[in-house]
């Protein structure tokens, strides 16, 4: 389990996050949603220890502030929004960085070496023929999937030594086409179903509705609510958080999906609308 | 007096065996480091014993045919060993010290000749070089000869009024590098009956424009260089500070061969004569 209590993040005088309590369970896909600038990504960075914060983040029973980078690397992989490389690495060389981390980490924790290879990881993210390409030559979406392969390789087995491992994904599908969006979401979903934990910052509420078991809604640096999709994806909560009229629909065979409220379409493009 | 004599005698006793070994095995493979020394060796007629010279040894022209071991402060130990010398005779300040140590380790005798910018210093150099080469008699003859030339050259300069001479070593980016005191340039200007227009510091330094105008130089003295197109008189006097000097009004610029002018060796009498003649001609 990951539990974060009373998380506050400030950049200088600006407080970005206010006293947020957040939990995520292994075996679940937990999505963090909210409008631009609400603090989703900042929350993710606090959870991974990337930005200084006050409060506590407990991962698998241990405060992450007390753990060494290599101890954390065994337990979780983190996919950033975008990664530019300093030097002309090939795709294989990039993905292998995850293998190195996973391997040495596994060896440190005594046992389980992952049997997975770089080509398998690339195959998994739909980049079978890309091993020999230069990373920098690839499109943004392809680069994003190369990075996903690297992160997957790091935590290939969702459970290691009876401890769940975690995937932290920061907008993993933002630069992907619809087909690859579904592929990546399914990979995350499978990871959760196999016992690992997934925490993802999401923009697309429909995809979130399709794949997440648990949703945290952030609005203006505060936690507007966290819970099962049915509890969070409601007309009122979303309209409130995103400052526009939204209607949540359900269909018997496709689950929940969202549409902007057709009647007030004009209001949808005025972000400053009163709550 | 007695004490002095005793000390001297003791020193002589130690020195004698060294001299005698030198006499037994005359050094016939000599590297000369320093243009002044090379000139003295040629003047002594001992040039056949030279096997190499340094980059500043460009007179007499025959010396240029010898292998060049580079710059006096950057001697290459293996380079010098390659000419298989048994004696290195060098001006003061040869180096780097590591190289000198290595050469000594290879059992090569290194003799440093003190430098100086007066007539006496030239004579002392001649004696020292001749002594080192084991030809003190030839040295005496040459020294007397040079001393006489110097005396005559200097004598001819009296009567010339003390002209203020500004020696310019180089001009880079409009900065005038001039000579202060304790330099060869200062020495030769004084010998030739002039006065160094720049006073108050040692060595060669870039002058501020104000210091240049302040100097009130009546003559500008420079080294003559091959292909020195950039510094003809016209260019020289476009420099704002130089252009207001008395020297600019009369276009008084003297150019002389660098080694002759600044070498302080056997040709210095000639340098004195050349310079004083030029000074006398300029501006009457």
């Amino acid at each position: 389990m990951l539990s974060a209590t009373n998380i506050t993040v400030s950049y200088g005088q600006n407080r970005i996050l206010h006293h947020i309590d957040f939990t995520a369970q292994a075996g679940e896909f937990t999505a963090i949603v909210g409008p631009n600038g609400s603090g989703k990504t900042t929350l993710m960075r606090a959870l991974t220890g990337e930005v200084p914060y006050t409060g506590k983040v407990i991962l698998n029973g241990t405060n992450i502030a007390r753990q060494k980078p290599w101890e954390l690397a065994v337990q979780r992989g983190v996919l950033p929004q975008a990664t530019s490389l300093a030097f002309p690495f090939t795709v294989t060389e990039v993905v292998r960085l995850g293998l190195n981390a996973g391997l040495s980490a596994s060896l440190n924790s005594g046992g389980h070496s992952n049997q997975i290879s770089v080509p398998q990881a690339l195959e998994r993210v739909g980049l079978g023929g890309f091993a020999g390409r230069y990373y920098q030559e690839l499109s943004g979406g392809e680069q994003q999937r190369v990075q996903l392969a690297r992160v997957l390789l790091q935590v290939w087995e969702p459970i290691l030594n009876d401890t769940p491992r975690w995937l932290f994904l920061d907008e993993p599908v933002s630069s992907l086409d619809i087909g690859h969006q579904l592929l990546v979401m399914q990979i995350a979903r499978d990871f959760a179903d196999a016992g690992g934990g997934v925490i993802a910052v999401m923009h697309d509420l429909n995809l979130t509705a399709m794949f997440a078991n648990n949703i945290a809604l952030i609005s203006q640096g505060h936690l507007a609510g966290q819970g099962a999709p049915a509890a969070i994806l409601t007309d009122d909560m979303l309209s409130d958080a995103y400052h526009c009229n939204l209607r949540v629909n359900t269909s018997p065979d496709q689950g929940t999906f969202l549409l902007p409220h057709a009647a007030s379409f004009g209001a949808a493009i005025s972000p400053g609308a009163p709550r | 007096m007695t004490r002095f004599f005793r000390t001297w005698a003791a020193a002589a006793c130690f020195a004698l065996p060294a001299l005698s070994t030198q006499a037994d095995e005359p050094t016939n493979r000599i590297v000369s480091v320093g243009g002044a020394i090379t000139e003295i060796i040629y003047a002594l007629g001992e040039q056949d014993r030279l096997v190499a010279r340094d980059i500043t040894s460009n007179y007499p022209p025959e010396a240029l045919e010898l292998p060049d071991v580079g710059y006096i402060r950057r001697l290459s130990p293996e380079g010098i060993l390659s000419v298989n010398p048994d004696l290195i005779i060098a001006e003061e300040g040869s180096g780097p010290p590591e190289a000198v140590d290595l050469l000594k380790e290879a059992a090569i005798n290194i003799v440093e000749i003190p430098d100086g910018f007066t007539s006496d210093a030239v004579i002392a150099k001649i004696h020292a070089v001749a002594e080192t080469l084991g030809v003190p008699d030839k040295g005496d003859v040459l020294a007397v000869d040079v001393a006489e030339q110097m005396r005559q050259a200097v004598a001819r300069t009296t009567g010339i009024q003390n002209k203020k001479v500004l020696f310019i070593l180089s001009m880079q980016g409009g900065r005038v590098m001039a000579s202060g005191q304790n330099t060869a340039a200062d020495g030769i200007i004084t010998l030739a009956g002039g006065e160094n227009a720049v006073q108050g510091f040692d060595g060669y330094k870039p002058l501020t424009d104000e210091a240049i105008t302040e100097s009130g130089a009546e003559v500008i003295l420079m080294m003559r260089r091959k292909g020195d197109h950039g510094l003809d008189d016209a260019t020289l006097f476009t420099h704002p500070a130089l252009s207001v000097l008395p020297a600019a009004q009369t276009r008084s610029v003297v150019r002389m061969d660098g080694m002759l002018l600044l070498g302080f060796s056997v040709r210095t009498a000639q340098a004195v004569t050349d310079l004083s003649t030029a000074l006398a001609q300029i501006g009457g």
């Binding site: 990664t83 490389l85 | 580079g70 402060r73 950057r74 290459s76 060993l81 290879a106």
Partner: protein, 357 residues
């Protein structure tokens, strides 16, 4: 050059480690040959082979040959290897740390500080108390260069480190400021320097291995060897750092600790190298760059190959410097720059596309 061009294209599998291993073996061979050649080549006629056969048959070697082979050439070969390897490895580490292929050890202020130290020692050395000058002898300039390099690195590091985090960007900017400051102080020194000292300064800045003696090799080698031994342990971290500091941290790399080690290692190695050899440019940039084009940026191979190629490059440059105008000697910095400059330009011209990616 066809081989070179071919190698710019990554292998089909994107795995260039075999090629890197192969290159390592090849470079080792070249290094051995270069070492032997540098022992055998020189202005003087001393023959390595004759000396060896004389030794084997128990004959005496002439004093002069002994001095040339053992006291002049041997320490010089070692010095070239150590200095070349240190400069190239330091360059590779800095480029990895700063995530910039144009970084060189100068960025952490080593070169500026060392240069300033050397200049001050050359110009003001005469004013030191006799006790110090007697003890240090001709180590005054190297010692001052090393101290200067080390001090400026520490200063930059302090400026750039806040709350336990070192900002490489701040370090870069502070380095520029420090460079300007030491340039100004150097200017003052140059102003008060006399003619001979100016010459010494010029020659120092052009670099030379001519001062290599056994005692110099032995005093500077530990620092340079330390850096060479530490560098392989930085390889994985530097690879991770290519992803950015945050991502490196997430794959288990203790980024701050690694930065500390990298900066101190580079300061020590470069400081020692610059102290004994003066300003030898271009090795730290050209060598890692060429290797990245040949076998990729994986630091596991890049660092060790840089060490070997750096040593080879300096050996070749030194051999040229010793024989080209014999019996005089050309400063080695001139040679590394005249060979390195055009070669680097040629690579840039060929590889424009790749570098812009």
């Amino acid at each position: 050059m066809a081989v070179l061009t071919q190698n710019f294209i990554p292998a089909h599998t994107g795995d260039r480690s075999h090629r890197a291993h192969l290159l390592m073996l090849l470079l080792c061979g070249v290094l051995v040959i270069a070492c032997i050649a540098n022992l055998a080549i020189g202005a003087s006629g001393a023959s390595l082979w004759k000396a060896l056969s004389d030794l084997a048959t128990g004959q005496d070697i002439s004093l002069r040959d002994k001095v040339v082979l053992w006291d002049i050439r041997a320490p010089r070969v070692l010095m070239a290897c150590l200095v070349g390897a240190s400069l190239a490895v330091s360059g590779a580490i800095m480029q990895g740390l700063f995530r910039n292929p144009l970084a060189d050890p100068g960025i952490v202020g080593v070169s500026a500080g060392a240069g300033l130290g050397a200049i001050v020692a050359i110009v003001l050395g005469g004013f030191l108390p006799a006790v110090i000058t007697q003890h240090l002898g001709y180590y005054i300039v190297p010692a001052a260069a090393f101290l200067g390099g080390w001090a400026s690195t520490l200063l930059l590091y302090r400026v750039a480190t806040r709350k336990g985090r070192t900002s490489v960007a701040t370090m870069l900017l502070a380095g520029i400021a420090l460079g300007a400051l030491s340039g100004a102080i150097s200017g003052v020194m140059i102003y008060i320097a006399d003619d001979a000292q100016l010459r010494d300064l010029t020659f120092w800045s052009m670099g030379s291995l001519a001062g290599a003696t056994w005692s110099k090799v032995l005093t500077s080698a530990p620092l340079m060897l330390l850096a060479l031994f530490v560098s392989p342990f930085l390889a994985r971290s530097l690879n991770g750092l290519a992803l950015g500091e945050a991502a490196a941290n997430h794959i288990g790399i203790p980024v701050q600790r690694m930065k500390n080690i990298a900066i101190m290692t580079v300061a020590a190695a470069t400081g020692a190298a610059v102290a004994v050899s003066g300003g030898i440019g271009f090795v730290g940039i050209v060598v890692p760059h060429v290797l990245r084009l040949l076998v990729g940026p994986d630091h596991k191979y890049l660092l060790i190959n840089s060490a070997i190629l750096g040593a080879v490059m300096l050996l070749v440059a030194d051999a040229i410097s010793r024989v080209i105008i014999a019996p005089a000697e050309l400063p080695i910095g001139i040679i590394t720059a005249t060979i390195g400059g055009p070669f680097f330009l040629w690579i840039l011209l060929r590889q424009r596309g790749l570098l812009d990616m």
